[in-house]
Amino acid sequence: MQILRPRDLDGALDALAAHPDASLLAGGTDLMVEVNLEHRRPETVIALRRVGELAEWRDGFIGATVTYARMERERLPALAELARTVGSPQIRAAGTLGGNLGTASPAGDALPFLAALDAQVVLASAEGRRRLPWDEFLLGPGHTALRPGELVLGVELPDTVPARQAFAKIGVRQAMVIATVNCCVVRHDDGATRVAMGAVGPTVLRAREAEALVAGVAEPSPQLLDEFQRLVSKEVQPITDHRSTAEYRRHAAGVLARRTLERCLHR
C-alpha cells in the first residue's frame, strides 16, 4: 500500500489523476474501519489533511475536510446539532463533511442538512471543477456521482441560509449511535419549508408533499401538523435491517419531522 501526502490541492488532483482508483483519506473514520474489517484493501491512499484548500470555510462554502468538531462550534444551528450526534469527541475531531458525502451512507448525519438547504456538491479533478445538486451527487447507498480522478472539494450553500433550521436523530442510545432515522427541517422567511429525511431510503430524501402542505402557513394548526406527519410517513421508503424495522422507521419519521418542524418554527 502506498500513501501519498500532497501538500496542496493541485498536488492532490495530480496524485488522483495518476491513481484514479486511490482511496481518499481525511479523518479515516470510515476508511480505517473498512480496512480493519478487511472490506477494503486500497493499493494507493491519498491523505488529504495537508491540503489547506479543502479545510476552508467561508461564506456559502464548506470545505470537504471540515471536521464535525468544527461544525459543532460554528453558527449554523442544525449543522452544530447534527455534528454533536456524530460518534465520540475523538471521532468528531477526525471525521469530515467530505467523508460523509463520499461514504454516502443512507444514514449519513450531515446529508439531511445538505438536502434541506439544496446544497451543491463541488467536485474537482485535474480536468477542472463541476457542481452537482446534492440529489444528483448521492445516487444510492455507498454510491455517488464521483468519477475516477475526482474528489469532493466541498459544498456550496445557497445565498440565504435561514436561521430557522433544526436537526434531530433517533438512535438506540443517548449518544455515539448510528441514526435509525435522522431529519433536518429548514424554514425560509417566506414560509417555504424543506424537510429532509435520512436512514429511511437508499439516500437521504425530501418529503416534498409534506413541505408543500405547510409552505407559507405561519402557525400550522395541530390538524395540519397531523397531516404533515402523515405525509412524511407516507413519503419515506424505509427498510428493515439489524438496526430497526421499516414499520417503526416510517412511524418515527413522521413524528420526528413534525417535532423538528415545531422546533424550527419556534426558533
Binding site: 446539532e81 443517548q174 414499520e247
Partner: protein, 742 residues
C-alpha cells in the same frame, strides 16, 4: 532482644476499608501490562481462518496457498491437533478446529503462524475453503421437537393438583447478550525447549484450561503451564477456551513463541454468549396473594456446542420462581442444540432469564390482585428457614429478602426532571424529545441466585500464605479479571495477620493447585476463604514460635513487649501454610430436581425510574436504586463498583444489548452496532448494602457481583411497562416495541 523504641504499627487497608487496588495506578496511567501487551523474542503471530456461515459441510480445504507464502511458518487444521480434538469447560464437545462441518457462524477452521500479524491474516485468508451450506437449525421449538436437547431439568415439587384462584400467564423472551469485555482475547504461547509449553491466555480458571490444554496438545500435565492472565474483563466469556489451544499448537509446531490477538469482530465470533431464551409461565395465587403454584417451561439456546450449558439451564430452572415461597412448582428447563453461536457462562449464569420472566409475572399478579407489587413480594418473600420453591432445599443461612425490599423502598424517589438539557431527556443528543412529551415509569424487581458451584460439584480453592521479613505473600491461582480479588485477598490477610504489607502472587498451574473458577460469585468466599485459613495458621504458628499473643508488622508481642521481629521469625524455617478450602458440600438433584443442591444464596432488589417518550419509543433511565445482600462489606468502594457495573450490564440487556441473529448469522459483530450503554445512558445509582453476615464466608462476606445484573434487567423493563402500559415481554425493549409496532 529489645523492644525499646519499637512502636505498635497501625494496620492500614484491612477488612471493611475501601482499600485501594495495588494495580490501580498502573492501570490508570497505562503502564499495566495486559495480555495483549506481552511479547517474546523471536515471536510469531497467529491468525485464525473462520467460516462465517451458520452450518455447512467442508468440501474443500487446502492450506498450501497459505503455506507457500513468504513468512508463513505453520498452517494447522483439525487433523493437526496433536491430542484430544475437542475442548470445553464442563463438556468437551467443541472441536479445537472445525472437523469437516461448520456448526456455527464464525467457527474456527485453521490457524496460521507467520512473521507478522498482517502476513498471518493474509495467509489465513489465502487458505482455500469450499463450503456446501446446510440448513441451519435456529428455531428453539423445532430444536425441542427434534430432540436436540443438551439437558432437560425437570422440577416437580408439592401437590400436582393444587390450584390457586388467581391466575396469570405469560410468554417471555430474552435476547442473546454478549459479555463484551473491554479486553479482546489475546494470548502468548512459549515453548519451553523440552517439548512443553507455557501459555498465557484469557481465562477465568487456569487449572480447567490446563486440563483441556494438556489433553488437546497431547502433553503430560507437567509439560503444560497455564499462567494467570492480566486481562480486561471476563463476565463469563473466558470460562471456555478461545485461542489458547491454537497458540499452543502453533508454538509446539514451530518451536517459537506465538502471539495471537483478536480484534473486536473476531472477539464476537470467538467467545461464548448469554443464552437467549423463550419462557412460558403460569403463576397461581390465592386471593390474599400467597403463591400457590408456579408452572414454567424454559427454552435456552445452547448454540452449536454444549460447553457449560447444562449448568446454566440448571440455574435457570432452580431459580425459575425467584426469592419466593411457593409450595407447588413444576418447571421444565431445556437447553437446546442449534446452529447459533455457542453460549455459555455470563454474569448471572442462567438466573437472569427466569428473573426477567418471573418478576414480570409477579407484577402481573399484583395488578390482578389489586395489590402493591412490593407488598406482594414481601408477602411471599423467601428467607432463612424457608424452602427453595423449586428444589425444596432448606435455606439454612441468612437471606435478607424482606430487608432488601424494605431498604429499597426507603430510598427516596428522584425528583421529576425539570431540565431541558437534552442529555437528561430521552433521545439524548439526538434532540428527539421535548420535556413535555415524557412519561415517567417506576419498576421493581428482586434478584435471586446461588453462590459457588452447585449439584455436588467438588468445589475447592487453594491458597498459600507465606510470612516474610517485609510482611506476607498470598499465593493463589485465582484469576483477577479486574473485579478486585487482588484487593480483597490483601485485605483479608492484612486483617488476619494484623499487618499492612501484604502482597498477592498469582501463580501458574505448575506452582499451586486450583483456586477454582473466577465465576459464580465465588472468589471472595473461596480464594478468600482459603487465604483466610492459611493466614490464620501462619499467625498461630508465628505466635506459638515466639510464645506471644499478638502479631503485627513489627513481629510477635506479649504484654506490650516485642518478643521477635518478623526478620527473626523468618530466620528459621519458613512460616507458610497451604490450604485447600472447601465450601459446605452440596447434593445432586433427584429425579424431581429435589435436594440441597446449593451452598448459599444471595438476594438483591432493584428499582428503576425511566422517562419514556411514548410516541417515539425513546427512553432515558433516570435512576436505578438497589439494595444488595453482601453478607459483610469487605471493601465498600469495590462493592459499589461491582454494583454500578453490574447494573450497566443488566440495563444494557433491558434496552439495547443484543447479538442480532438472522438464521444463525450475527448481524452486528462490532461496537458500531452492538450497542453498550455509554456514560450518557448510565444513570446515577443509589445503593444500600444490606449486611447480614454469612456464617461461613470470610469475615461474613458473600460473593455478590452477579446480582446487580440479574434484577436490573427486569426492573428497567417493569419501569418501561409502567410508563407505557404495554406488556413488553421481550428484552431488549426496542423503540418499536414501546410504540406498539413490529
Amino acid at each position: 532482644m529489645t523492644d525499646l523504641g519499637v512502636r505498635r504499627p497501625t494496620l492500614l487497608g484491612g477488612v471493611g476499608e475501601s482499600a485501594a487496588r495495588p494495580d490501580g495506578i498502573a492501570k490508570t496511567t497505562g503502564e499495566f501490562e495486559f495480555l495483549g501487551d506481552m511479547s517474546a523474542d523471536g515471536m510469531l503471530w497467529g491468525a485464525t481462518r473462520r467460516a462465517y456461515v451458520p452450518h455447512a459441510r467442508i468440501v474443500g480445504l487446502d492450506v498450501t496457498p497459505a503455506l507457500a507464502m513468504r513468512g508463513v511458518h505453520a498452517v494447522l487444521t483439525f487433523d493437526d491437533v496433536p491430542g484430544h480434538r475437542y475442548q470445553g469447560q464442563h463438556v468437551t464437545d467443541q472441536p479445537v478446529l472445525a472437523e469437516g462441518v461448520i456448526r456455527h457462524w464464525g467457527e474456527a477452521v485453521a490457524v496460521v503462524a507467520a512473521d507478522d500479524p498482517e502476513t498471518a491474516r493474509r495467509a489465513a485468508a489465502a487458505i482455500t475453503l469450499e463450503l456446501e451450506e446446510l440448513e441451519p437449525l435456529t428455531d428453539l421449538e423445532e430444536a425441542l421437537e427434534r430432540g436436540e436437547v443438551y439437558r432437560h431439568v425437570r422440577v416437580r415439587r408439592g401437590d400436582p393438583e393444587a390450584r390457586g384462584e388467581v391466575v396469570v400467564e405469560g410468554t417471555y423472551e430474552t435476547g442473546m447478550q454478549d459479555p463484551a469485555p473491554l479486553g479482546n482475547e489475546a494470548g502468548l504461547a512459549l515453548p519451553d525447549g523440552a517439548g512443553g509449553v507455557d501459555i498465557w491466555g484469557p481465562t477465568q480458571w487456569t487449572h480447567v484450561d490446563h486440563r483441556q490444554l494438556s489433553a488437546c496438545l497431547g502433553l503430560q500435565p507437567e509439560a503444560v503451564r497455564v499462567h494467570p492472565c492480566r486481562i480486561g474483563g471476563a463476565f463469563g466469556a473466558r470460562e471456555d477456551l478461545s485461542l489458547q489451544t491454537h497458540i499452543g499448537m502453533l508454538a509446539l509446531r514451530t518451536g517459537r513463541p506465538v502471539k495471537m490477538v483478536y480484534d473486536r469482530s473476531e472477539s464476537f465470533a470467538g467467545h461464548v454468549k448469554r443464552h437467549r431464551s423463550q419462557m412460558r409461565y403460569r403463576h397461581e395465587a390465592d386471593r390474599d396473594g400467597n403463591l400457590v403454584r408456579v408452572t414454567a417451561r424454559l427454552l435456552l439456546d445452547g448454540g452449536a456446542y454444549e460447553l457449560t450449558s447444562a449448568a446454566v439451564v440448571a440455574n435457570s430452572s432452580y431459580f425459575a420462581v425467584g426469592a419466593y415461597d411457593c409450595p407447588n412448582v413444576e418447571v421444565d428447563g431445556y437447553v437446546l442444540r442449534t446452529n447459533d453461536p455457542p453460549t455459555g457462562a455470563m454474569r448471572g449464569f442462567g438466573a437472569n432469564q427466569p428473573c426477567f420472566a418471573a418478576e414480570a409475572q409477579m407484577d402481573r399478579l399484583a395488578a390482578q390482585l389489586g395489590m402493591d407489587p412490593l407488598e406482594l413480594r414481601l408477602r411471599n418473600a423467601l428467607e432463612q428457614g424457608g424452602h427453595l420453591a423449586t428444589t425444596g432445599q432448606l435455606i439454612e443461612h441468612p437471606l435478607p429478602t424482606r430487608e432488601v425490599i424494605r431498604s429499597l423502598a426507603a430510598i427516596p424517589l428522584p425528583e421529576p426532571n425539570d431540565s431541558d438539557d437534552p442529555r437528561l431527556l430521552p433521545g439524548g443528543t439526538g434532540l428527539t424529545t421535548p420535556r413535555s412529551g415524557v412519561v415517567r415509569g417506576v419498576g421493581y424487581a428482586v434478584g435471586f441466585k446461588n453462590l459457588q458451584f452447585s449439584e455436588a460439584f467438588d468445589d475447592y480453592a487453594e491458597a498459600r500464605v507465606e510470612l516474610t521479613p517485609d510482611g506476607a505473600v498470598v499465593h493463589t491461582a485465582a484469576i483477577e479479571v479486574g473485579q478486585g480479588l487482588v484487593t480483597i485477598l490483601e485485605q483479608i490477610v492484612r486483617s488476619t495477620l494484623n499487618m499492612t504489607h501484604v502482597r498477592v502472587a498469582f501463580d501458574h498451574t505448575g506452582r499451586i493447585g486450583s483456586a477454582g473458577s473466577t465465576s459464580a460469585s465465588r472468589q471472595t468466599q473461596m480464594a478468600g476463604g482459603a487465604a483466610l485459613e492459611a493466614a490464620r495458621r501462619v499467625r498461630d504458628e508465628a505466635l506459638e514460635r515466639a510464645g506471644g499473643d499478638e502479631l503485627d508488622e513489627a513481629g510477635v508481642w506479649r504484654d506490650g513487649r516485642l518478643l521477635a521481629s518478623l526478620e527473626e521469625l523468618c530466620a528459621g524455617a519458613a512460616i507458610e501454610h497451604h490450604v485447600r478450602y472447601r465450601h459446605p458440600a452440596t447434593e445432586e438433584p433427584d429425579e424431581n430436581g429435589q435436594g440441597a443442591l446449593h451452598v448459599d444464596f444471595c438476594v438483591a432488589a432493584h428499582r428503576a425510574v425511566v422517562d419514556v417518550d411514548v410516541d417515539l419509543g425513546m427512553l432515558r433511565v433516570v435512576e436505578i436504586a438497589i439494595a444488595q445482600d453482601v453478607g459483610k462489606a469487605l471493601n465498600p468502594q469495590q462493592l459499589h463498583g461491582q454494583i454500578e457495573g453490574g447494573i450497566a450490564q443488566g440495563m444494557g440487556q433491558a434496552i439495547m444489548e443484543e447479538v442480532v441473529l438472522d438464521r444463525g448469522v450475527v448481524r452486528n459483530p462490532t461496537f458500531m452496532d452492538y450497542l453498550l450503554p455509554t456514560s450518557l445512558d448510565m444513570p446515577p445509582v443509589e445503593a444500600v448494602l444490606v449486611e447480614e453476615p454469612s456464617p461461613w464466608g470470610p469475615y461474613g462476606a458473600k460473593g455478590m457481583a452477579e446480582l446487580p445484573t440479574v434484577s436490573a434487567t427486569p426492573a428497567v423493563a417493569a419501569a418501561i411497562r409502567a410508563a407505557t402500559g404495554r406488556p413488553l415481554d421481550r428484552v431488549p425493549v426496542r423503540p418499536q416495541g414501546i410504540v406498539g409496532l413490529q
